[in-house]
Amino acid sequence: MNRLRRILGSDLLWSFTRSPGAMIAATVAFGLCLCALFAPLIAPQNPFDLASLDLMDARDPPVWLSGGDHRFLLGSDSQGRDILSAIFFGARISIGVSLASVALALVIGVSLGLVAGYFGGRVEAIVMRAADVQLTFPAILTALLINGAARAVLGPGRVAGSEFWVLVISIGLSFWVQYARTVRASTLVERHKDYVAAARLIGASAPRIMFTHVLPNVLGPVLVIATINLALAIITEATLSFLGVGLPPSQPSLGTLVRTGNDYLMSGEWWIVFFPGVALAALALSVNIIGDWLRDALNPRLR
């Protein structure tokens, strides 16, 4: 109860109700997440159930155009799959990959940043040098390289089934640098504070001090970076899937839907690519706006 009151009375909520952009974005993102979460319950059709697909229904236009079928609100694809259901399930996979890869980047980056900032010396030098080298390249390129290496390790043909984790690892490993740098910078400040000295005096071990005492004090900026990174991860996942090195058509994310739909663009069946594209853009844009708003609300200096 007390906590609820604190949330209701907070600056954050006040700032939220004052920014219509953030409210619209949050509604869109929340709605898409709900659709993704409850996809099996609310989708008109299970796009993975091959028995329910009928090639006779293939390439039906959206319901408001002539030739549209009331069962396929946004039309159907080349296999008679309902586009709307495919979007629900695709968003589920896209959001899943993005959340998992941001979590992975967060764990790696925060741990390395804490260790580098707390111990300093050679550990710090190595971690920060690695960060410098990786920062030389755009994240999408790093993700592509890790992806290619993972394919070579698994061997051709054995990637099937593990694409989800290959993606999570390649995106996660290409986003850790920013967390490591931020956390290191704050840890450098925190480690000289009295509470750390006190914890050391009562004999707490280094990992205990780092993870239970310092960590909560350096997490603020990390959450903002994580939100903005989530939008980036959604776009990176979609891009990798679009490039054909992400999720396969049998387990499509929004990016894969755009990739497969793209083949029908030339013959004029625009809805197969258009609606998944709109869903993807809405998801990325709304998460981006929330991230921007969060950054401004939590850190007025950055405005």
Binding site: L145, A152, F242, N288
Partner: protein, 325 residues
């Protein structure tokens, strides 16, 4: 000053060495190169002979030294998927990527700077607000969606422009150019807009921010007081002073244009290095990946180093700072 220069050059060399080591590890330990090169029906004895021929049974140190030596000559061996020398493959694809990146950069600069200057001079104007809203959408949209949208509107609906390929090209020496034919130029339009759009928003936003800053400065007020025309104040005095950071960003962005050309080349089936790279990732073609990695690293490191050294010429604080150290 010498200390600063040496440190930057040292850092650049370090990046290149690390990337070369990663490329070597990829090449040597990720999957068995022999298995990737030959079919399943090749006998064990033949495999061993190939292994000896390629020097894959030498010690790791010897192999590493040979790899680095070859990399210095840009020799990365034979592509697994095309059975051709990687150098030949990359050299054939390089002009396409270069011309696309050049066109995209020119588009981004020629449109981005005026738009940024306009929105900076008139931040409250309707056009400026519209641009700022559009640019947020532009930054959040994945590149490939923009490309697909352009293809649908201009190739499928209006049929003004071709949707894929380079059009007709002309061979001049080793260089295959699309700049000299009408269809080559038409094919260049949509890919360069797609590739340049992100840089355009970046440049415009930067010019806008710098202009807003400069317009408040005393020397602008003084220029107005002297009775100079609006045009002279805005362009001769204000815009000129924003250009140093803008040139820096443009320089640094050349690297990401090369990287993002992978996506644009896939959307438009543009036969450049990016398309070659993406097929090599799909097929785990390590020699091509290693060569692309080294090439991109060289481009990035050279640009970063140039920008750092240019700063040395522009910003006296760096010179003084290192003199004291």
């Amino acid at each position: 000053m010498l200390h600063y220069v040496l440190k930057r050059i040292g850092g650049a060399i370090l990046v290149l060495v690390v990337v070369a080591l990663i490329a070597f590890v990829l090449f040597r330990f990720v999957g068995d190169p022999i298995n990737q090169m030959v079919g399943q029906d090749v006998s064990v004895a033949d495999r061993e002979r190939l292994r000896q021929m390629l020097g894959l049974d030498d010690s790791i140190v010897v192999q590493l030294a040979r790899f680095l030596w070859n990399a210095l000559h840009f020799d990365f061996g034979v592509s697994y998927q095309f059975k051709e020398k990687v150098t030949t493959l990359v050299a054939a694809r390089f002009p396409a990527t270069f011309e696309l990146s050049l066109a995209a950069s020119i588009f981004a600069i020629v449109v981005g700077i005026p738009v940024g200057a306009y929105t900076g001079i008139r931040p409250k104007a309707l056009m400026s607000r519209a641009f700022m809203a559009l640019s947020l959408i532009g930054v959040s949209l994945p590149t490939f969606l923009i490309g697909i949208l352009l293809i649908y509107v201009f190739a499928v609906r209006l049929q003004w422009l071709p949707s894929y390929g380079r059009g007709e090209t002309v061979q001049i020496g080793f260089w295959r150019t699309g700049f000299l034919t009408k269809s080559g130029l038409a094919a260049l339009v949509m890919p360069s807009i797609t590739l340049g759009l992100f840089q355009l928003t970046l440049i415009a936003r930067l010019v806008r921010a710098e202009m807003l800053e400069v317009m408040r400065a005393d020397f602008i007020r003084f220029a107005r007081a002297r009775g100079l025309s609006e045009r002279a104040v805005n362009f001769r005095h204000a815009l000129k002073n924003t250009l140093v950071p803008v040139v820096t960003i443009i320089g640094l962005q050349i690297g990401s244009i090369v990287a993002f050309s992978i996506i644009t080349e896939t959307v438009f089936q543009w036969p450049g290095m990016g398309l070659l790279f993406i097929t090599s990732v799909q097929n785990a073609d390590i020699p091509v990946m290693a060569a692309y990695l080294m090439m991109v690293a060289i481009i990035f490191v050279t640009i970063n180093l140039t920008v750092d050294l240019l700063y040395l010429a522009i910003d006296p604080r760096i010179r003084l700072g290192s003199a004291q150290a």
